[in-house]
Symmetry: C2
Subunit: 431 residues, 2 copies
């Protein structure tokens, strides 16, 4: 039986999981693949660290460069999660004809074009299922299962930490800070949770998905990103009154003309929509293809085991590609789409929470601003039980461009009767 | 650019969809595949029938045998939905080295072993994504995305017609016959809906999924199948009182020892479970892998467009395999699993609806029978508002084998206080 040698770069949570499961399910993989996958070398930062799995000491090295030089290694698994070093490793592997498996979403979002140009030039596939949504095979679905479809839209809950925080806020009325502290205590959030809660991590994944769906690498600066840090428990309960829940969504859409939009922000979605019931650290992606229609993919979006499952699937693909060389290197650019709409032009619906003086005439002033800007209001309500000089006022706004709304917010914020900066959250009704 | 010739056998709903979408999305497919897929010949029964798509008359033939003899055809798409003729076409294509794409679930469930032995012998891949769950890429997920996983269980809503009927019964309190008539009027059920409502169609799909997951062709006689014909609106409302909804599920499980179970039957599932919210003609499959954990795949399980999407994905795979021959022919048998538990030995929980005399002592008699058989009761309730000499009595039964329950039903049915044959539906709590 043929054996393929693996060089594992990075032995953190996911790397240790890959090693563990390759060992545990070795007999199964051998049967299904008809070959052996054998880890030949593991590059780590710290030789002494306990990783919870038993690794023969001879496999470890602190120099990832050794993976490139070792002729017994045909597949390099990049799980270092670095920028410069990871890029050097991946490009080095490609140049030497070694296949690459990576879960490095930040790197792909930034250097995807460079990496796949090199891959195509050297005819070396690069696999990256683990980079988006952990164990959910969304890359495979978009690239292969829906290959005949124009992807009309993808709506994804693609950051488990922020989904856990929003779920806890929704279930228990916690504030953002308390829910974040709980997520950290439960091990779901890093000591520095910035990338999870500010939408940055979800944006990396949205960039990869959009690039794959539309055949060009979407530049990060074209992607609008807003995090969940300013969502309050009031927003969540007001949204519920309106029949919505709040989720951090990656939203990717294309119109018939080939223009696309890519954005990440907290979003009110109808409580009946299937994404609304995706709770805790789970991820889910609703994909709409022009032929297949509505589909949904759900699973754990992070963590040692689910992410290992995707890395191992990619290793199996790499082994198949080593046995039978393929022309598809994992990303095929084309020119059928191309322009990425700036956020200003994107049309959406909106939830608006204002803090206003509690006196007659206030609603008329606000409605007047919106009316003058030709923005329709679909509902207004004033939550019960608030007392004091100021009260909340909640509006749901009909379709308007983000530019229109920015003007409206500026004018409304300047009204004397409006006492705090208006709070706006986008609404998605999947119409 | 290389062109691959397709022979399409069958131009019904799905065949017409494949032809239509290959034409509409031709530019996209060309970019993504780097080759052309061109339909060279179409075998139909009736040359004159209007199929809603414009087909050059020269492509049509009434003899499917011509597809085998045409050297311009490298891929045969079998969508005739026949038994003998479809089998002869598929085996004939394999013998001639032509790749096969089929959506014929009944044929695969019955002749899968023979087909894939021939495919392996002749090194010709056979693709069958369209055979299970329409547009949902569940074959690809199990075979490729979860290749490193032991599949612990699959719970699938894999027949859209029966799901539509149960949904309508649940939403509107319709009886089975009325809901079926509605499904037929809406075009969701055939004039002869037997295979949809009796579980036969779902069983074909469950056999294919289980065979793929466990590496051997599961014999149909080992699969327990019960349909939804006897579900009443009372069952649905009593189940709801207990916090459950009723779905026709395909249930596939494996234990650590390698024994598997495959069954299709109406099932009470907790209303909070994500499968409970899969309504109408939609399909969904919850797959639990030992590494990836819980996942779910959702989409349209039938219909021209979603099924075409899967056929086209398989055509793309076939084209890739023609460019770069692969050793995996679509099904790799192995011996890690093997025994299929008979239904008698399978342990489950149960919902039991009895029609009993309305007098004291009845519950004691019934509980006595169950107690003597060592079967625990987890709840008993008598629905309100029933009047007359007999009333309903609903029990939920703890885990017991199907054999134990069969004895219990026989004894309970023979009690003088029990006036009709007991009605039993299995319960799945996903524990």
């Amino acid at each position: 039986m043929q054996t393929f040698g693996i060089g594992l770069a990075g032995m953190g949570n996911v790397g240790a999981g890959v090693f563990k499961h390759l060992t545990l399910n070795r007999a199964l993989l051998r049967e299904r693949l008809g070959c052996e996958l054998e880890v030949k070398k593991i590059a780590v930062r710290d030789m002494a660290r306990d990783r919870g799995v038993s690794v023969p000491a001879g496999l470890l090295t602190t120099r990832w460069e050794e993976l490139l030089d070792d002729p017994a290694i045909q597949i390099v698994v990049e799980l270092m999660g670095q920028k410069d070093e990871s890029l050097r490793l991946i490009l080095g592997a490609i140049e030497r004809g070694k296949m690459v498996v990576t879960g490095n979403k930040a790197l792909l979002a930034e250097h995807g074009q460079e990496i796949f140009e090199a891959a195509t030039k050297h005819k070396v596939p690069v696999f990256f299922e683990a980079a988006v949504a952990g164990g959910i095979p969304i890359i495979k679905a978009i690239r292969e299962a829906f290959v005949g479809n124009h992807i009309r839209s993808i709506h994804g809950i693609i950051n488990g930490t922020s989904n856990y925080i929003l779920t806890r806020m929704s279930e228990s009325g916690l504030g953002f800070a308390e829910a974040l502290a709980e997520a950290q205590a439960a091990g779901y959030a890093e000591a520095d949770p910035a990338l999870d809660v500010n939408g940055g991590d979800a944006a990396h994944k949205a960039i990869i998905l959009a690039s794959l769906a539309y055949g060009f690498w979407v530049p990060a600066e074209k992607v609008f990103v807003e995090g969940i840090e300013r969502i309050t428990s009031s927003d969540i309960s007001f949204a519920r009154k309106l029949g919505y829940v709040i989720k951090l969504l990656g939203i990717i859409k294309a119109d018939a003309g080939g223009e696309i939009e890519v954005r990440v922000h907290p979003t009110l979605i109808p409580e009946k929509h299937v994404l609304a019931s995706v709770n805790g650290v789970f991820n889910a992606l609703a994909v709409h293809g022009d032929i297949v229609g509505d589909t949904l993919f759900y699973g754990r979006g992070a963590g040692q085991d689910p992410t290992s499952s995707s890395v191992i699937a990619d290793l199996a693909e790499a082994a198949a590609a080593l046995q039978s060389p393929r022309s598809n290197c994992g990303f095929i650019p084309h020119g059928l789409y191309g322009t990425c709409q700036p956020i200003d032009q994107i049309v959406s619906e909106y939830y608006l929470r204002l803090t206003v003086e509690d006196r007659p005439g206030v609603i008329a002033q606000i409605a007047g601003v919106l009316g003058a800007l030709n923005i329709g209001i679909s509902s207004i309500f004033q939550p019960e039980g608030e007392e004091g000089e100021t009260v909340s006022l909640v509006l749901v706004i009909h379709k308007a461009s983000n530019a229109q709304m920015a003007s409206a917010l500026e004018q409304i914020g300047a009204l004397p009767c409006v006492k705090k900066a208006p709070r706006m959250i986008r609404v998605e009704n999947f119409a």
